[in-house]
């Protein structure tokens, strides 16, 4: 994982997004062990307390669970992971539509462009 952190937004939010992406994309699969805070902090070159805060945020949203003896694991609730994935996809779509509308594209044009792009790929 490479941690590309922007300088104009809170660090912990970016860490949350990064870890969410790792989970929904399956790089951190359901039920797998989450690396220890220090290890993650060192990888991302951030303060351990900031990483801790990001993990707590993910715990509250239910994507990560703390186990008393063996640290943290990714939730086994695949529905929840799917729901997070849908939400992230929706956000991307919203942003995309906003940009396209700014370009003056109609819904019809957008659909045609997407279909054309998909047929190429």
């Amino acid at each position: 994982m490479t941690w590309d952190l922007k300088s104009d937004r809170p660090i912990y939010l970016q860490l949350v997004e990064h870890l969410q992406l790792a989970i929904v994309s399956g790089r951190l699969p359901a039920g797998s062990r989450v690396p220890p805070v220090r290890e993650l902090a060192s990888q991302a070159a951030v303060n351990p307390n900031t990483m801790q805060k990001a993990l707590q945020e993910l715990e509250q949203s239910g994507l990560i669970q703390t186990q008393r003896t063996s640290g943290r694991i990714v939730t086994e609730d695949t529905d929840r992971i799917q729901a997070t994935r849908d939400l992230l996809a929706k956000n991307q779509l919203d942003a995309f539509f906003e940009q396209m509308q700014r370009l003056g594209c109609t819904r019809h044009e957008i659909l045609a462009l997407v279909e054309k792009e998909l047929s190429i790929v």
């Binding site: 809170p10 660090i11 912990y12 902090a41 303060n47």
Partner: protein, 232 residues
């Protein structure tokens, strides 16, 4: 939790100027704190007071509840802004020197770091470049198992690649019982590893906040925020 460093109405006057004008500040263990401010804002003075090198004109300062003195020297690992090591010594000799001097010094950790930064233990300080000398000093200071690290401009003369390694070193040596105070102008390089920043201006604490609070509130990095606040 007891603060590791506490200042109450701290004043420090030099012959011709006032360096600190009523600093109230409590810093807690387990944190990495950035001490930021324009030139002459009192950063080094505050660090020297905490290290016990200066005495306050008035007000109080406590390190782990004690007035700075012989007893706090074993708790505090201080990196001065200038080198004070005799330059005829080799890197290995200064490591041995520190090992004799401080009970909490980890000579093995120091040797490992020298190796990682490709500094040969037999090199004399005299023949080292400015940046290499700074690296050696920082290695010495970070190899102690202290409760309060006071780093005055630790990465100024160090190249960006070594800077990353040094910041990693500070992170991996991070100890929940200890606090690290870093005074620096290279805010962009250090802000990711900081919990908290303290802005000093004209000898007073202007702001004390977490990095993420500043970013959330002002929508910019601490580095950008600093440039706005202290715009000349």
């Amino acid at each position: 939790m007891e603060p590791i460093l506490e200042c109450r109405k701290l004043f420090k006057d030099y012959t011709s100027c006032r360096a600190l004008a009523g600093v109230d500040l409590s810093l807690y263990p387990g944190r990495i704190i950035g001490l930021l401010g324009p030139n002459g804002s009192g950063k080094s003075t505050l660090i020297k007071l905490a290290a016990g090198l200066l005495t306050p004109t008035s007000g109080e300062l406590f390190v782990a509840g004690k007035t700075p003195g012989a007893a706090t020297k074993s708790l505090v690992s201080y990196l001065p802004e200038r080198t004070y090591l005799p330059d005829w010594m080799t890197a290995q000799q200064v490591i041995d020197f520190f090992a004799d001097f401080y009970a909490d010094f980890d000579a093995q950790a120091a040797a490992d770091m020298l190796h990682r930064l490709n500094i040969l233990p037999g090199t004399k300080l005299k023949t080292m470049s400015k940046g290499t000398k700074e690296k050696v000093q920082l290695i010495l200071v970070m190899s102690r198992r202290a409760q309060l690290y006071l780093l005055d401009e630790p990465i100024g003369g160090v190249d960006p690649a070594a800077r990353d390694y040094i910041l990693q070193t500070i992170l991996t040596n991070y100890n929940p019982e200890a606090a690290v105070v870093i005074s620096t102008h290279l805010i962009g390089d250090v802000e990711k590893i900081l919990d908290q920043v303290v802005f000093l201006q004209n000898g007073q604490v202007m702001l004390c906040a977490t990095v993420d609070d500043i970013r959330a509130e002002h929508g910019c990095s601490v580095d950008t925020f600093f440039r706005e606040v202290f715009k000349c």
